[in-house]
Symmetry: C2
DNA sequence: AGGATTGTGTAACGTGCGTTACGTAAATCT
DNA sequence: AGATTTACGTAACGCACGTTACACAATCCT
């Protein structure tokens, strides 16, 4: 909900105004670079100076292009959520039994977590590293809640009673936390897939 | 290895010199408080000023008593590792089948993670939040490696071939990462125990 | 060409953090 | 009592970080 949060500076497509001096760097590539770093190191683990250095720009160019560190994070997070939630939705809709849902969702998660060099989940990584009082945590948690609700609804539609469905959702959530952390720490896709098979009886 | 790292300022027992002005605060209680915060928020998520405020002291007293933030972290981490590794060793030794080992270790982990208000694992929480280049990560990883080696040895002693044993160790490691993060985010012991039962077929 | 608009580089500001200098207070030892 | 040892409180330092002022450069519109 509250999906009317608009990018602070640019629309999703990287079109630029036709007047004035053109940019000397690729802002879209910069966003991708930032997305990778935010997923790997978390919001607090990334500093603007490093991002600027990796993009080959100076701080004023960064702020002109992205607004602020937090605005950039919100942008790449929104794009990440849009992409991944679609993948999870397909996994959930395609599941025909509770066990199948568990397996499909976890396999999908592994596929997402091992993209881009195996960096884990941007949402989970930031949830795991932030303190409870942070305002951003509420938003990250709401993203997770949406996924859990989707799983719960599907499991009930498949005939699973509520208590068992909730327990299964918790199990999948715990497994995803572990898979994300393991992917970030370097475990490769083959090993993670084997772990999923081992975790889904 | 290299176990001769000695506490920067005090021996494990909280004995104090008999001369000079006595302390106006309980350093042992302060260490416990710090241990809880380091496990919950990670090394970087704790600031010295907050610790001082919670202990009711000023920074110079903190440094006189504990040496530095990092020295205090090493101290409480060493104590935590000594305590938990004993618990894990008992779980591993008491296991009679691979499935039993898996279940015992994960149950032990849940018991440890839900102590002290459900704050997760101090080692895993800090591993998950630190970047790869950090020198402290190597030490934290070596603690994990020791646990994994102990599991691997026991599994082979139980007759499990190496590839399967390694895969099972990876599965347990991933599950522990998830359980620690879930405990930190507020999942209670009953739910976590149920998750463990669900993850151990 | 000349003005308007947008981007860039240098250099700095403010804040929060870990840490410490320094003078003062409270205990023990001779 | 005086000297010595240890701890405390105030205040500050140095550094890294997010962020911005300001002057200059490059492009588009008329």
């Amino acid at each position: 909900m509250s999906a009317t949060q608009i990018s602070a500076t640019e629309e999703p497509t990287c079109q630029r105004p036709t007047r004035g001096r053109p940019r000397a760097f690729d802002a879209c590539a910069g966003r991708q670079l930032a997305a990778r770093r935010f997923a790997r190191d978390g919001f607090e683990g990334v500093c603007v100076a490093d991002l600027c250095a990796e993009m080959g720009i100076n701080p004023p160019s960064f702020y002109a292009a992205f607004g602020s560190k937090e605005a950039l994070f919100r942008d790449v997070l929104a794009e990440y959520v849009a992409m991944t939630s679609k993948a999870y939705a397909e996994a959930i809709e395609g599941a025909n039994t509770p066990r199948d849902l568990r397996h499909r969702v976890l396999r999908t998660a592994v596929g997402l977590f091992t993209r881009d060099g195996g960096v884990g989940c941007m949402v989970l990584a930031n949830l795991m590293q932030k303190g409870g009082g942070d305002p951003m945590v509420a938003y990250l948690q709401s993203i997770l809640d949406a996924l859990n609700d989707a799983m719960l609804t599907r499991l009930q539609a498949l005939g699973l009673p509520l208590p068992e469905a909730e327990a299964l959702v918790r199990t999948v959530a715990v497994a995803m936390l572990g898979l994300s952390a393991a992917a970030r720490s370097g475990m490769d896709r083959a090993a993670l897939d084997q772990v999923v098979d081992d975790l889904v009886p």
